[in-house]
Amino acid sequence: MSQFWDIYGITFEFAFVLGLFALSAFLGLWSGVLSLAPIAYASGAAYVSARLAYDKVMMGEANYPLVFHLFVGMVVGGFLAWITSFVLLRLGSHYLALATIALVLIARVIALNLDEYTGGTVGIPVPRQITTWHILLILGVVSVMFGVLRKSRFGYSLDAVREQPEVASSLGINVQRVRRYAFTFAGVLGGLAGVLQAQLVQYLVPETLYVELAFISIASAVLGGAYIWVGPIVGALLYTAIPEFLEPFLGSSKNVVNGILLVIIMVFLQRGLIDPRQFRAWSLKRKSRQTKEVAS
């Protein structure tokens, strides 16, 4: 087991962090918004945290504690998301998706051109403070939050806004506000995940948090099932594990198989692997069977 963990530990760490990214993408989807923006916020957050750590280390001082960096990540991510939400959430759904992609492109250009702070193309080293346990703990806490969220007033609002925004509005739910909360919370999560990702890679260049990761986090969320928080986490694990598993057998042609697998899963399991509806159907069936047994 220890041998296994030595080999695949880092893969799991990346998978868990991808899980956080996928959850932040999922939050957008939950409010009926296809947004790739959390990666842009993650980039901002990761740079701020990395820069703070760098200044400390270069001055020969001790780095800030991990908790501080996580906090900084969440605040920066949330703030950026909140500010940009006023522009982005005005847009129609198609434009919003495009505009958030544009935002990710913009984040890279900003990082490249603020080279005084970000190191530009050279990048900036990031001291690693996290352990696997930290990541698991964070993912656990976030999962609990999502669990609570789902059955809370806000969770119901999100469900309604996602499915029928007009109806939600006529039932008294402020659709824009719900979306803004979700968007901002996704930014907070994105910022958190960005700091973790930077610490895992231990080095930050503008491409560390870029379009590809944005697409992968959305894909993980949808692959795993974008209707309950378990889905994105499962999706992220699979999305990381499958290529790792295929690599020894397929070498570089693994990409073709990866892509085809993704298409096949989407075609045959359109609601993703984890679908709460399916669970409800099963549990109802079981209940009805039980009642039948009781009756007979």
Partner: protein, 310 residues
């Protein structure tokens, strides 16, 4: 005084020539971005498919044309036809295999994810086909028209981009507004329900839209790879990223807007590099993008004319 004045005059002339040269360079690359944005936007507006594999389809147009030119000595126009057909064929095949099965419960998200899958596959295949290299067309494929004055030079590929770009906008605009199939495409963009009521066969419409759009991507890939000496997988990825930007600036609901968006991005990019700084070039481009997002979020032409966003 005389010689001084002459040299001053000559210098001004040179500056003007440089400006004209760079505007023309910008128009050529902008035309490529614009055509790509148009084809990308058409499929997005009509069917809600945000097809990230679209850039790679453009690359395949170039790869196929290069193959027939190198192996069978095809000339410019037959190779162009091959690029169009390859683009359209890949578009239609991927649509049938990857997008059609999702259509019953059509949603943008599902399409996006499958298009990511298609993208991954096409990139891997494209890299293998090109053996991970950058290639170019033989120089004798296209030697006309060539614009050369003392200070201005335009490669034949650039000139063809500038010719075919506007032609394709006008053609596509006329097809969409004046022909029965165009009306049907717009109707599908408007609402698939509406098109079902009016008895339009959605398969025909979908296939023509995909064919037109992916065929156009094939043209862009082919012409840009000639104009910019670049048959490679990154060519398509570059077109895709700039295509996103162009579509945000120009709007995807109207082919004219998308094309204009591409032109704006292209010209700004080249002039920005010349007169401001190569480092800030992208800052200018994306600054423009932010401005459009803030003040004109629905693109240049504003109101959505063709496909309504669903």
């Amino acid at each position: 005084m005389g010689p001084l004045l002459t040299s001053q005059k000559k210098r001004n002339e040179n500056l003007l020539n440089l400006f004209i040269q760079q505007v023309l360079n910008g128009l050529a690359v902008g035309s490529a971005y614009g055509m790509f944005a148009m084809s990308f936007g058409l499929i997005f507006a009509t069917m809600g498919i945000l097809n990230v594999a679209h850039g790679t389809i453009a690359t395949f147009g170039a790869i196929a044309a290069l193959t027939v030119v190198e192996n069978w000595g095809f000339s410019f126009f037959p190779a162009l036809l091959i690029a169009i057909l390859t683009g359209a064929a890949i578009g239609i095949v991927t649509d049938r295999l990857a997008f059609q099965p999702l259509r019953a419960r059509a949603n943008t998200l599902g399409y996006l994810i499958t298009s990511i899958g298609v993208w991954i596959v096409l990139i891997a295949l494209g890299e293998t086909a090109l053996d991970h290299q950058i290639k170019t067309f033989p120089p004798d494929l296209l030697s006309w028209p060539r614009l050369v004055t003392t200070n201005i030079y335009l490669a034949p590929g650039q000139i063809w981009l500038m010719i075919i770009g506007p032609i394709s906008v006008v053609a596509l605009y006329l097809v969409l507004t004046r022909t029965p199939i165009g009306t049907m495409i717009r109707a599908v963009g408007f609402s698939d329900v509406w098109s079902r009521i009016s008895g339009v066969s959605s398969t025909v419409v979908i296939l023509s839209t995909v064919g037109i759009s992916a065929g156009l991507a094939g043209i862009v890939g082919y012409l840009s790879s000639i104009a910019f000496d670049n048959v490679s997988v990154p060519l398509g990825e570059g077109l895709l990223l700039k295509g996103f930007a162009a579509v945000v600036v120009g709007g995807f609901g109207d082919v004219r807007g998308a094309f204009l968006g591409g032109i704006i991005i292209g010209v700004t990019e080249v002039l920005g590099a010349q007169y401001v700084s190569g480092d800030f070039r992208d800052v200018i481009t994306f600054g423009l993008l932010i401005l459009f997002l803030l003040f004109r979020p629905e693109g240049i032409f504003g109101e959505i004319k063709f496909g309504a966003a669903r």
